[in-house]
Symmetry: C2
């Protein structure tokens, strides 16, 4: 398949059709377009056009479109819909997606919207889900699942299942519970079909089933599901009762968001933003880290001011300060990135002191190679071996310290329960700039005997 590509021509055509209120033509044009693609189109329209299109199309399609829209676009559209219209959209959605939308509605209309949902069981499930912290397994799960009681026989089970499966897009597994709704195990569809209809479920189910607690961190759920290659996992409450189910498509989103967040933190962007966000939003995300960099630079300048007496005889030392700062920053970011990733992927083994020792060796090796090149260059440039030696020797020391800081900081933050990803990027760069320049001048001063 060729993925859908939103062209300027198509967008212009759609806008034209909306302006001239050509409803049937629009329905025909968008009939075969996937809801994720329609969401892409609507993200580009203005509020009135977007609302017109949502009201025009069937709610079994537009409900899915709503879940895929940019948050601000969705908010604007929902503002233009009546409580009844919103309720109709929610009716078509799985409970987890519906609850996410309800959570974004203004407080004062939530009750009215909920009361307009005709399927009362669906409404109750949505309200149940509103209780859970967004950042937990409970906030991620849906109520749609297929469950059977261990005390039923296979025949009852098949009948009940058929009714339940109506509301569940993908069955994956049939969960077995006891009279208290406590999760006991699972059943495969295959087993169910090959067993006598009078057999008791308690005699045929598989008692081993992975599950997560409602309070579990979504990242942890993602790790479990991807490590064990699960396509769905049941969620249980504090009493072990089956309360919901998380499917792999939600986990794919968690993994992508997490990766985006870590990447942006490493690049010095403090909250998840997109290229198309407003200049104010982008400034708010970027300025804090730049300000940190400014502080680091001012600190470095103050340190250099303290060594001002060296400037007349050894101006060249000052020419290499950007190099020292850059190397300290780069080494620090490299070391911390490897640790942050190791922590995220749970594949960091051995003790902290072993790790620091290894990083020291690595920094020493890299430092010596780079210092040798720098020594030759500076010696030939200025013809002064001792100055060249001072600069190169300091570089080795700076690289070692930078590597240690880069390794230690994320490990320390992690132990304190702070996301180690904030240690990469500007944080490490800035502290390493200051330490680097201090060490550099200090060692140079000793070697040059000033």
């Amino acid at each position: 398949m060729t993925p859908f590509k939103l062209t300027d021509e198509l967008l212009a055509e759609i806008e034209q059709l909306i302006e001239t209120q050509k409803g049937p033509e629009l329905e025909y044009l968008l009939g075969d377009v996937h809801y994720a693609d329609i969401a892409e189109i609507i993200n580009e329209l203005n509020e009135d056009e977007a609302t017109y299109l949502i009201k025009l199309l069937d709610s079994d399609k537009t409900s899915d479109v709503l879940t895929e829209l940019d948050e601000d676009v969705r908010e604007a559209i929902l503002n233009n819909l009546s409580s009844k219209e919103i309720a109709e959209e929610l009716e078509e959605l799985d409970t987890d997606d519906a609850a996410d939308i309800v959570a974004e509605l203004p407080e004062e209309i939530i009750q009215e919207v909920i009361s307009e949902i005709e399927d009362r069981e669906h409404a109750q499930d949505i309200v149940d889900l509103l209780r859970y912290d967004e950042n937990s397994a409970g906030g991620l799960m849906a109520k749609e699942l297929v469950k059977v009681n261990e005390n039923w026989n296979v025949l009852t089970c098949v009948k009940e299942m058929r009714a339940q499966a109506e509301n569940v897009t993908r069955v994956h597994s049939i969960y077995v519970v006891d009279d208290e709704d406590v999760l006991k195990g699972r059943l495969s569809l295959k087993d169910l079909l090959t067993t006598s209809t009078t057999a008791q479920i308690r005699d045929v189910y598989i008692p081993k089933v992975d599950s997560v607690n409602v309070n579990e961190d979504p990242e942890e759920v993602a790790k479990i599901m991807s490590k064990y290659d699960l396509e769905a996992i049941p969620v249980v409450d504090e009493m072990g009762r089956l309360v919901g189910r998380i499917t792999i498509d939600d986990i794919v989103d968690v993994i992508k968001e997490e990766a985006d967040k870590d990447y942006q933190l490493a690049a010095g962007i403090s909250q998840v933003v997109e290229a198309d966000d407003s200049i104010w939003e982008l400034t708010r995300a970027r300025l804090p880290w730049l300000f940190l960099g400014l502080l680091g630079g001012v600190g470095a300048a103050a340190i250099m001011g303290g060594f001002e007496e060296m400037i007349s005889k050894h101006a060249i030392l000052f020419f290499f300060t950007p190099l020292i700062a850059a190397m300290a920053g780069n080494v620090g970011v490299q070391s911390s990135a490897i640790i942050v990733q190791g922590l995220a992927n749970d594949d960091l083994k051995g003790s902290v002191s072993n790790r620091l020792f290894k990083e020291m060796l690595l920094a020493l090796l890299n430092g010596l190679i780079l210092a040798a090149i720098l020594l030759l260059f500076t010696w030939f440039w200025k013809g002064d071996f001792y100055t060249a030696l001072a600069i190169s020797a300091s570089l080795v020391a700076v690289i070692i310290v930078a590597g240690i800081i880069g390794t230690f900081t994320p490990l320390f933050l992690n132990q304190r329960g702070i996301d180690p990803a904030i240690a990469t990027g500007p944080f490490i760069t800035t502290s390493n700039d200051i330490f680097g320049i201090l060490i550099y001048f200090w060692i140079a001063k000793i070697i040059l005997g000033i």
Copy 2:
């Protein structure tokens, strides 16, 4: 569930049991442990211990363990197994996992291993898969799928399906093909069960089915599957013939690897490495970027050497070079990271000139705020308003240029078909260091009238 945690005690116990050849105790101890967790254990054992354990346990478990091991550990173990033993492991695996392992074997034993596989159809599927580029949909797909001919009736279909489903862990969809094996559509299990057994498949199947070409880039497949929330997608060849199927668990791995790679590139690490890799591997991945940083630093030093005559009257200008370099680097990394992510997520809209204009405005805003702070600080520190002004004004110019370079470079690389992620990290930092310092001294020189 509490995720499995490999403790030092457990590892010591296992090593002890292996040393004393307590086979039955080991089988009992590891009986309920998931294969992904056994792989974690084996990664920590030495070669002999690992081989002992693999030979001890059943091949229906060890085959899955093999797919989860670190590459070097797997290589060492396979070296100790006979061709027949390897063939037995491959027999248990899905074709995609089996082909991945065969591709890692030494050339000279591949033929022998393949000849030892008893299931000849399975062997042929594995050999077929070896033909595809690792970095394509073909390299990712498995041969296991359920397909039916459009000319069959429902009864034949159900019979055939049962036989095929034996080898397929998760069915997801039933694909419909014509006599030439060309993919025509799909069937839902539900439809199949509610239709008369004499109905022709061609009258009941859904003719709309998403598919990807064997040559498609895995990243593109990941985008399609996650955008459209697909759990499996069929793969077709140049003639539209159904040749395989990709499932979401493989795509989760692609997404994670891609994110890891981008993150490491942004941190200046040129190939995917882990914290536990050897010092040589880590050096090979890190040194090239550090060398680039060294070149940038030498370039900056050379530029400063060219402005040496300013040092006697305006030494303070030289104190702020690390600050200028750091700010140029940070702004460049921020801008490029946002573009790289926008490109990766396909949510970058509008023209390049609009984007550069927006980035200029953003840089101007950030630059003015930071420059105002710096101006006050420098003015109070040295009491010289003109020098303070020169430094602050240059900072604004440097930030704007850094933002433009950071925005333009990944867009340019992407247009040239080069992975824009290499533009972040040391690449942008280094070029921005040099440009930044050049602009800084140049503007300072104009303002101070030297």
